[in-house]
Amino acid sequence: MDLLFTQLLNGLTAGAEYALVAAGLALLFGILQIVNFAHGEFYMLAAFILYVLLAVVGLPYYAAAPLTVLLMACAGVLFYAIVISRVISRPWQIQLISTLALSIVMINLAIVLSGPTPRYVESPLNNVILDLGSVRISAQRVLVLLGTIVSFAALYLGLKYTRTGKAMRAVAQNREAAAVVGIGVPVIGLVTTVVAASFAGLAGALIAPLYAVGPTMAVLVNIKAFAAVIVGGFGNVKGAIVAAFVIGLLEAASTTLISTEYTDAIVFGGMILILLFRPNGLFGKAVRVG
């Protein structure tokens, strides 16, 4: 029972990691129809920013974590100006190649700058252990789960009720109609990119203290986030978040019940199974072609 509860927490933590990355991917695809292969690398960049702020600059975690999210929002502005704004109205092949190129450049820059040795990020909450009867959980994990829940609630409310959120949904549903009612589509593109990058920033700020930080730390996370986006119904943010947690929990369950060696095979096998029966994903709607 205790093992099960511990694994459930592990699954939720992994799910939160995938969900924070997947939410940004789903936003970029759902609203701007851009597949961002570099999105996982934003998570890696955020983890490195947190590392630098803590280990080099010497800020305390409580200041470094929010600053990481803020700096990632700024990185989102740069990403929009340098990449997205230039490819947003170009064919999908150009979009795909440019984000893939950025991903490769970012990974290799990280290797050049930091070397391949993993680094560890210290958070004071790692050492605070909460005792829940027979189960012990680090406060950092609680922060990950709380931060994820709060940020997704904020995203949901923002998209549903704010003027900009409604405009983002409008652009996602019909870009021409959005322009016709006077929504500045480039502004919405910028806002979407900044929000997506900030979520990757939050992933780095919350989760980096739990795992090793290195240039390729996000490669597998990115693939799992993509799996969540696809299973959730491409471009459906809610679906991607739910699917990300399902993947995290499935991983934890297969690690506990079967073996760590088969974890990825089970997760991706599950994804293939779901797509066989629901080709548009769990929450996707059938798209009429032609």
Binding site: R163, K166, A167, R169, A170, Q173, N174, E176, A177, A178, A179, V180, V181, G182, I183, G184
Partner: protein
């Protein structure tokens, strides 16, 4: 029919196009408030391009477009919307996953005054079908109802000039009558200038004060609705009617 002396919207020698392709090659005409104008012409003559140029989705390359006596050629679409020019383009132009109410609110996106709710109520009075479905998703309505919604969305900016691209496309004959009746009454009651592009040229001209024929990017003929309907050349070339 009372037509203002000074045209509300005036095009003078307007040139526009896409990339290197020049579509409009010198279009001039003016429309007054409270009038309906039908633009007719063959496919590819530049009718939709004309509406997009008036709305600002395409740049005026030469010539000028003026609204209420002032040039608007340099303004973008948002400023033109705020000035009072709205468009309902061809094809579905609403937000299918939003409710009718949300769609109408999005129609007023460029407004920040507190009269939006009152206008929304006014709109559902004018289009009763929308009132019944205010909380349903736009994508779940029939094509004709969505057309009504899109017109109501455009009206949410309280336009003085309303541009309609094929408002009757894909509608049943009964629905077409209803749409045309609404268009006529919008012009008369609200004093708007309505410019529409319509394949259904005969029916469109019947409710129009002015007909403009576009041929290869230029105006080849203008006249009142009845004049157009009785012109032998136009009957033969554009209306598919026997020459009287």
């Amino acid at each position: 029919m009372a037509v203002e002396k000074e045209p509300l919207l005036e095009l003078r020698d307007v040139h526009a196009g896409y990339g290197e392709l020049s579509i409009l090659k010198g279009v001039s005409f003016g429309v007054g408030g409270g009038t309906v104008t039908s633009v007719i012409g063959a496919n590819g003559a530049g009718k939709s391009t004309l509406l997009k140029t008036i709305f600002g989705m395409l740049k005026v390359r030469e010539g000028d477009v003026s609204f209420e006596g002032r040039s608007i050629a340099a303004l973008g679409t948002v400023k033109r919307l705020k000035a009072g020019i709205a468009i309902v383009p061809q094809g579905r132009c609403n937000f299918p996953q939003m409710t009718i109410r949300e769609n109408l609110e999005m129609g007023a996106y460029t407004r920040s005054d507190d009269g939006i709710e009152a206008d929304l109520q006014h709109m559902v009075d004018q289009f009763p079908i929308l009132r019944e479905k205010l909380h349903l998703l736009a994508g779940d309505m029939s094509g004709g109802q969505q057309q009504m919604l899109e017109m109501a969305m455009a009206l949410m900016v309280r336009p003085r000039v309303l541009l309609l691209d094929e408002p009757s496309l894909g509608l049943s004959p009964m629905m077409i009558d209803e749409v045309f009746t609404s268009i006529r009454s919008l012009a008369e009651v609200n004093g708007m200038a309505i410019i529409m592009v319509e394949q259904n040229a005969v029916q469109a001209l019947k409710i129009s004060d002015l007909g403009v024929v576009i041929e290869l990017g230029r105006v080849s003929a203008t006249g009142t609705g009845p004049e157009m309907l009785n012109d032998p050349d136009i009957r033969k070339a554009y209306l598919g009617l026997p020459v009287i």
